[in-house]
């Protein structure tokens, strides 16, 4: 069973980000970058499926050369090989889906697992778009994945408002990983040291034959308005009046 997993390089969710003076993007100097936490969950799930079924886990990353750092982290967790799509221009979720579609057509994986969203822009769109482009069934926001004995179907539990939904999808399919799907393992020290020896194939967007035409462009980033200090009220009556008239919450 071949499983393709996406790995996106994102700024550390713990890091305090600053916006560039011209508002074009965040300041990246001195910022730590990590594997998108939802992608880490996706890698873990792929490894668990592989450990049960045997097969191969292939990770794919798109971007500048630095994204291979995060790809190495996934390889150190246990993925078998990587595909690095070298692209330096700007792109949106639909472009990502287009590029991934071409990778899928070459690799022909049985399952494609993505994080449900990246924690930097929180778009959460590429997974859906990829499934649509491929014409594959999809199960988004997975909290449990079970592969049938004949390896032809996946039973996916999804967390929805007020309960759980269980879907059965035929393979090949697209799954996106939610927070409670699993707890990713630590890469072991020997695997970290060996990750460098694992093959990473570098390809370009042109070689893949993917069209990158961003439909969404980032115009400007601004910081959220600074929170104003609270006020002290004299009485309960004051409080209720303010909650009613100013905050309009009751």
């Amino acid at each position: 069973m071949k499983i393709l997993v996406t790995v996106k390089r994102v700024s550390d969710p713990e890091a305090k980000l600053k916006i560039k003076p011209d508002g074009s993007w965040i300041q990246t100097e001195g910022v730590k970058f990590v594997v998108n936490p939802f992608d880490e969950i996706a890698v873990e799930e792929a490894l668990r499926i592989k450990e049960k079924q045997t097969g191969e886990v292939v990770v794919v990353s798109i971007g500048e050369k630095v994204v291979t750092e995060q790809m190495r982290a996934a390889l150190a967790m246990g993925a078998d090989r990587g595909i690095f799509v070298n692209y330096t221009g700007s792109y949106d979720s639909y472009d990502v889906a287009n590029i991934l579609q071409k990778v899928v057509e070459q690799e022909k994986p049985d399952i494609i697992i993505l994080g449900k969203q990246a924690v930097d822009d929180d778009m959460g769109a590429a997974g859906f778009m990829l499934a649509e482009l491929l014409g594959y069934p999809q199960a988004a926001f997975a909290s449990k994945v079970e592969i049938s004995d004949d390896k032809k179907k996946a039973k996916v539990t999804r967390e929805i408002d007020g309960g759980l939904e269980v879907k059965e999808v035929e393979l090949p399919c697209v799954i996106t990983a939610d927070l409670r799907l699993n707890t990713p393992r630590y890469a072991s020290l020997p695997n970290i040291m060996k990750a460098k020896q694992k093959p990473v194939k570098e390809v370009t967007v042109d070689a893949l034959g993917a069209a990158v035409k961003p439909r969404v462009t980032v115009k400007k980033l601004t910081e959220p308005p600074k929170r104003k200090g609270g006020v002290k009220v004299e009485s309960v009556q004051d409080l209720v009046t303010k909650l009613k008239n100013e905050a309009k919450v009751i």
Partner: protein, 365 residues
């Protein structure tokens, strides 16, 4: 070429160990210190990270990771940043594995490396320090007398980590001939080959089980002798380099905690960090941490180059031990009364840091 740039792998090692230190070790550090017990699960998870056997060649059933002294120094700083007792406990098997890798016979490697099994990963430790008021590492009191097919060991050892549960202990002793460090060899003694006396009651490292051992005519077969051929000084350099790295980790933990506290604690209308006496102290602590880290890195770099790092490691260990007292004392001082109460971890780091001045062979790179 000298470089301070970490490779991708080294950065990943550092981040992985730091994450383990913060999310696994720190969560249990205080209960472990209070109860004197490290949860078995933490030791197991440390093993699963490949900390104890990851570097053993595949030919002997290991994972075959190439771990340089510099890699180890990076790992040790991060783990000690989490918790010193847990780090020393998790890494105890390396105290025998690494000497075996460097000096062991093919037969010994085969026999002992394959004993590092998933269910027996806490198999080994080493015994060096002796409970003597005039302990001098160059003239060990523990002796190994040549008696035909065997050597006969006599003496006492102190501060031996996990001696109660280890399958085998590497005991350092003086053979009849040979002067100073060059006369010291290792002797592999199986469990039951010595008397494990009562657990040490230490000021710090309270979660770590350490024992005094009594070797009273323990017999060690000739093929169980780890012939160091003068290599003991190299092992000591490796252990002292490890000690500097561990010290850096504990110091960084105390410094970061004190820094965060000083920025939040308001006295006389402003955070105490904005008072020069506190700010200068914190700056000095930061300088010293950088200094000892450089000492650990230099010493490790020399070891990786195959150079004799005995002097650098020894000077560094001594300097780091003093620095550890300076930094952890100041960290408790910056916390004021809060530094004295056990709700904050700095008093624990202060007690743990005291071990660096009196310990030897606590870990190895």
């Amino acid at each position: 070429m000298v470089s301070f740039e970490l490779s991708e792998e080294q950065a990943l090692l550092r981040d992985t160990c730091r994450d383990f230190a913060l999310t696994i070790m720190r969560k249990q550090d205080r209960p472990a210190d209070e109860s004197g017990e490290i949860p078995a699960d933490i030791i197991k998870q440390g093993h699963e990270l490949g900390l104890t056997t990851g570097y053993i060649p595949e030919a002997y059933g290991g994972a075959g990771g190439q771990l340089s002294a510099l890699d180890s120094v990076i790992v040790l700083e991060e783990l000690a940043y989490g918790n010193l007792s847990m780090t020393v406990n998790i890494l105890a098997p390396s105290l025998m594995n690494i000497p075996l890798m460097l000096y062991g016979t093919e037969e010994q490697k085969k026999k002992y490396f394959t004993m590092n099994k998933p269910d027996q990963f806490q198999g080994f430790t080493a015994a060096l320090v002796e409970p003597s008021v005039r302990f001098d590492i160059e003239s060990l009191k523990t002796t190994a007398a040549d008696d035909g097919d065997d050597f006969v060991l006599n003496g006492e050892k102190a501060f031996v980590s996990i001696a109660d549960s280890a399958l085998a202990t590497l005991v350092f002793a003086k053979k009849g001939s040979g002067e100073g460090l060059a006369g010291i060899d290792g002797f592999i003694v199986p469990a039951g080959g010595f008397t494990v006396k009562e657990r040490e009651k230490n000021q710090g490292l309270r979660a770590l089980k350490q024992f005094t051992l009594s070797l009273d005519g323990s017999r060690v077969a000739r093929n169980e002798v780890l012939k160091l051929s003068g290599g003991f000084a190299n092992l000591l350099a490796r252990a002292r380099t490890a000690s500097i790295a561990l010290t850096t980790g504990v110091c960084r933990a105390a410094y970061e905690y004190a820094l965060a506290y000083a920025k939040e604690r308001i006295a006389f209308g402003e955070p105490i960090a904005s008072r020069q006496s506190v700010a200068f102290t914190l700056a000095e602590m930061a300088m010293e941490i950088d200094a000892i880290r450089l000492m650990a890195w230099k010493s490790a770099w020399m070891l990786d180059k195959g150079m004799d790092a005995y002097k650098e490691a020894s000077l560094g260990k001594r300097y780091a031990a003093d620095t550890a007292m300076f930094i952890t004392r100041n960290a408790t001082q910056i916390l004021g009364g809060h530094g004295f109460v056990r709700e904050h971890p700095v008093e624990m780091w202060y007690r743990d840091a005291r071990s660096f001045a009196v310990s030897e062979f606590m870990a190895i790179v």
